[in-house]
């Protein structure tokens, strides 16, 4: 699915827009972008660059992130997701394209302006935490404020909230090497939030943690987001993690965007066999909701006396109810009844993925299966 997909948010103005973004490593990559015609076929242009010994790490990347949205970038290692994220903050200087934050092109900013933007509008969390080994917890968290020259008392006051939000009270004087991985990442999160950024970038923040801790941190992350409502770009290679937190997911391969869509879209309507392979092991019943399995006909002819569920209930929640009665359930969204789920519609919904999956695999299955293995 291409990039004309509209975000599921109410705000019309996107927080961040990324247009035709390229990052090419190698000698003199700029020369490749003089020919506007060549840019119309990015895939073949990238191919030619590779043949010439350059490394196109991000190839014509386009997406938008809405206000308050959690936008997840996924892909295998080396797919360019980290590069894209770093291009957005210009930790990596993009070769070509536009990055609009609140409508302003970041790539045209001077070094000085960029520093101001990083000091006030962006926060970033790193996979291996990126903590300063010589500073204790409170100094690490207040580091961005210290760089701005804020006096110590004021700094501490500013971060009081954040420290308690991430649950670091009482550890303020510890040094990074005295903390567990999970604790260290809390420090990283607190630091990224210290400047109260609008745009929050997270680069595989939980990948270095144990599975148990990872799940706990995901819950806390969702909790933090529910109070702060930041616009978030979150990188992961773990599809289950993406499912738990994403509003939308962008899947990348070889520097190119393969598909952008909601988690359910990716599963039920994969753009190609690569996406299908990626989502293959996801338990469908946990991802699809009642709203995804409505019987045709809508809300008109719903019989009385059936059990009711909310539209966000997963099919896994629905199954026991339906198994007991061999009958349908009514689906509500708020006060409104939006339809019903019947055994037939349920089976249809579940079968949809298998069909889509098989179709995608038939197209170019053998080649991709090799690659992902």
């Amino acid at each position: 699915m291409p990039d004309d997909d509209t975000p599921r948010s109410n705000t019309p103005e996107p927080k961040l827009v990324c247009r035709n973004l390229w990052k090419v490593f190698g000698t003199k990559p700029e020369t490749w972008f003089k020919d506007q015609d060549a840019l119309r076929d990015p895939a073949s242009l990238a191919e030619r660059m590779r043949d010439d010994g350059l490394i196109p790490a991000a190839v014509d990347v386009n997406f938008e992130v809405a206000q308050g949205e959690i936008f997840v970038i996924m892909g295998l290692s080396g797919s360019g997701k980290s590069t894209v994220l770093r291009c957005l903050s210009r930790l990596v200087e993009p070769t070509y394209g536009e990055v609009l934050l609140d409508g302003e092109d970041l790539l045209r900013k001077s070094a000085r302006e960029l520093i101001e933007i990083r000091r006030h509008k962006m926060g970033m969390v790193f996979q291996n935490f990126g903590l300063m080994p010589h500073l204790n917890v409170i100094e690490n968290v207040t580091f961005p404020l210290a760089l701005q020259g804020m006096p110590e008392k004021e700094r501490r006051k500013r971060v009081e909230n954040v420290i308690s939000l991430v649950g670091l009270e009482g550890r303020e004087d510890s040094y990074p090497h005295q903390l567990s991985g999970g604790q260290q990442q809390r420090v990283g999160i607190a630091r990224s939030l210290a400047v109260e950024p609008d745009l929050w970038l997270l680069d595989e923040p939980f990948s270095a943690l144990d599975p148990m801790i990872r799940r706990q941190m995901q819950d806390e992350f969702l909790h933090i987001q529910s109070t702060l409502k930041k616009s978030i770009i979150f990188i992961t290679h773990d599809f289950l993690e993406a499912l738990r937190i994403a509003d939308r997911i962008m899947l990348m391969r070889d520097g190119m965007v393969v598909q952008i869509g909601s988690p359910v879209d990716l599963i039920t309507d994969p753009a190609d066999s690569y996406v299908a392979e990626f989502t293959r092991d996801v338990p469908l019943v946990r991802v699809m909701t009642a709203a995804d399995a409505l019987a045709p006909g809508g809300a008109q002819e719903t019989p009385e006396g059936l059990p009711e569920v909310d539209s966000t209930a997963t099919l896994e929640d629905l199954l026991p109810q339906m198994a007991g009665r061999h009958d349908s359930v009514i689906v509500r969204k708020g006060d409104r009844v939006i339809g019903q789920v019947t055994p037939e519609s349920l089976i249809d919904a579940l079968a949809k993925r298998t069909k889509a999956h098989d179709a995608a695999m038939d197209e170019d299955g053998s080649e991709i299966a090799k690659e992902t293995a």
């Binding site: 930790l91 990083r118 790193f126 903590l131 300063m132 010589h134 580091f143 760089l147 005295q178 400047v195």
Partner: protein, 684 residues
Amino acid sequence: MTEIRRWVSGGSAWAVLIALTLVLLLQRDALPWAIRFPDGWAVPLTPWLNAGMNWVIDSFGIYFRAFSDQLSVLMRWIRDGINSLPWAAIVALVAFMAYAVSGWKLAVFSFAAMFYMVLIGFWTEAMNSLALVALSVPMAVIIGFFTGALGFASDRADRIIRPTMDMMQTIPAFAYLLPILLLFGFGPVVGLIASLLYAVPPMVRNTTMGLGAVNSEVIEAGSMSGATRRQLFWRVRVPSAMRQILLGVNQTTMAAFSMVIIASIIGGTADIGWEVLKSIRRAEFGESLLLGLVIAFMAMVMDRLTAQIARRDTSGPEALEWARPRVLWLSALVLAIAITALAQVLPFLKTYPAAWEFYPAGRLNSAVQYIVTEFTVTINYIKQVAFFFVMLPVKMGLEKTITPFSWGFAFTDTLKIGYAVAVLALAALSWQRRSWRAAALVIFFGMLLFVGITGMPWPALIAMATLLAYQTGGRRLALGMLAGLGFLLLAGVWEEAMLSIYLCGLAVLFCFLIGGALGVLAAEFDSVSAALRPFNDTLQTMPLFVILIPFVMIFKIGEFTALLAIIAYAIVPSIRYTEHGIRSVSKEVIEAATASGCTPLQLLWRVKLPLAAPVILLGLNQTIMYAIAMLVIAALVGTSDLGQLVYIGLGDGDFGVGIVAGVGMAIIAMLADRMTQAMGGRPK
């Protein structure tokens, strides 16, 4: 072209070179120039160099002198400053610092070590050395830090800085004492500048390395926190690299101190190094031992203090108490003032009364004398055996060594033929069992032992070394080898160079065997490791010439003593790297091997040693470097190699001789370094 290349890489090239050597050896009476490079063929480098130096002194001498005058003033201030403090205040301050950075143990040790200097009555001399270090270390640290930062920031600068640092550290110190002496004039300033030159490189290296090794995420986190370039450098990169930088400070301090001691050889400095040297020259062993201990203690205190500061930097909570610099400085100041005030009332705190001194040099001398006379037979026996059965054969060859006087029988023609047959048989066996390489090696050493290293024809040696360099490291290394050996030959120092290689080679061989064995034991048994550690630490921090003292005491001067001293110093890296290499073999591999039914010995020979080989080879590399460094110092006790030439150059004020010999040693060191690196693949 490719065929030539294949031929050169193969074994037949060796066969040709060995045949060439044999021909040259058989015809040596007809071709004397092949054994001894004729003096007439040498390039008169020495007079040219001396002329150049004279020109530099005539044209720029005044500026150098002016600079050195400025430094002298600064140095006098520091010296007077230290001398004006009561000894008790300095001892207390050092002990306090030790306590602050480490704790009671180090404090007690530092106190005892410092008090020893007072007790034997050489406080002033020790403080004069300390004053030099106190000036040269901060200067070296500042210069080194900024040079290192430059090398980190710019690849182009790094390409110039790196080889310069290599040169500064591999050219033996004695070689540049003389030019400094000529340029800057006589006096302690020479020691200062020499120690600066020698102490800067470790600081540069550690700074460049530390700054480059900072985790990229930390840097990115700094950038994302909105750091400007300057903030990123000073508030993120430098503090994150602080540990490595402080390690550089530690190494720089030790290098500076060791050089301050070495530089006393030019005399007139009234410092502790001069006193030690004086007593070694007068063969006063009791004195040299007691004074050598002063140097050893100073080195240990400085090393432990600076190493502790580096280690402590990861600011744990226990460090936090004392890390508040204000409290620390204030307490130190109060302590110093209090003791100085007290010294007004109790004068013995200011000047230690001579009557309370304890200087048992006389008794030590008679004790040494007693031991030496008591064990004369044994000592001489050891010396003779080493000399006639190991050292002389390598140096001059069996043909000259085997006489009725030394071995008890003459080297008759029958025996010579027997020797040749034995070598050939061994070679054949090695070929069959191992490879043509082993066979070539056997034949080469067979010839070498027969005529000695000085009797080998130089054209053959150069050709073989170049071939070896080509086969291990490719064309560039081969060219380097050819150029380096060519320099030694044309500069007219071939024989001295061969003697250096002989002495170093023997020492390295012993270090590798004994050190390797000790390293294996240390890796297998924790108790051995624990027992060896203090020895290794001490030997490594000791200024080189202190190591000579015990050997001179027992074996008097001579090449054997030099050999022992070199071994004592150079064995440390062999032990350390072998132990480290074996200990870092992955546990899984060992478990897998054990599960496959390896006996402990098989485990060692078939698994641990092969896997540890790269690290052990790195140890060999370090051993060679250490041996070459010690070579010059060992010249003090009588050798006839390049080290001696360096020393002679210094003694005669002959700049050219000293510098040619010094560069010669640097060339040998660098070639040996590149060769061992090429053999082990690039070490990290």
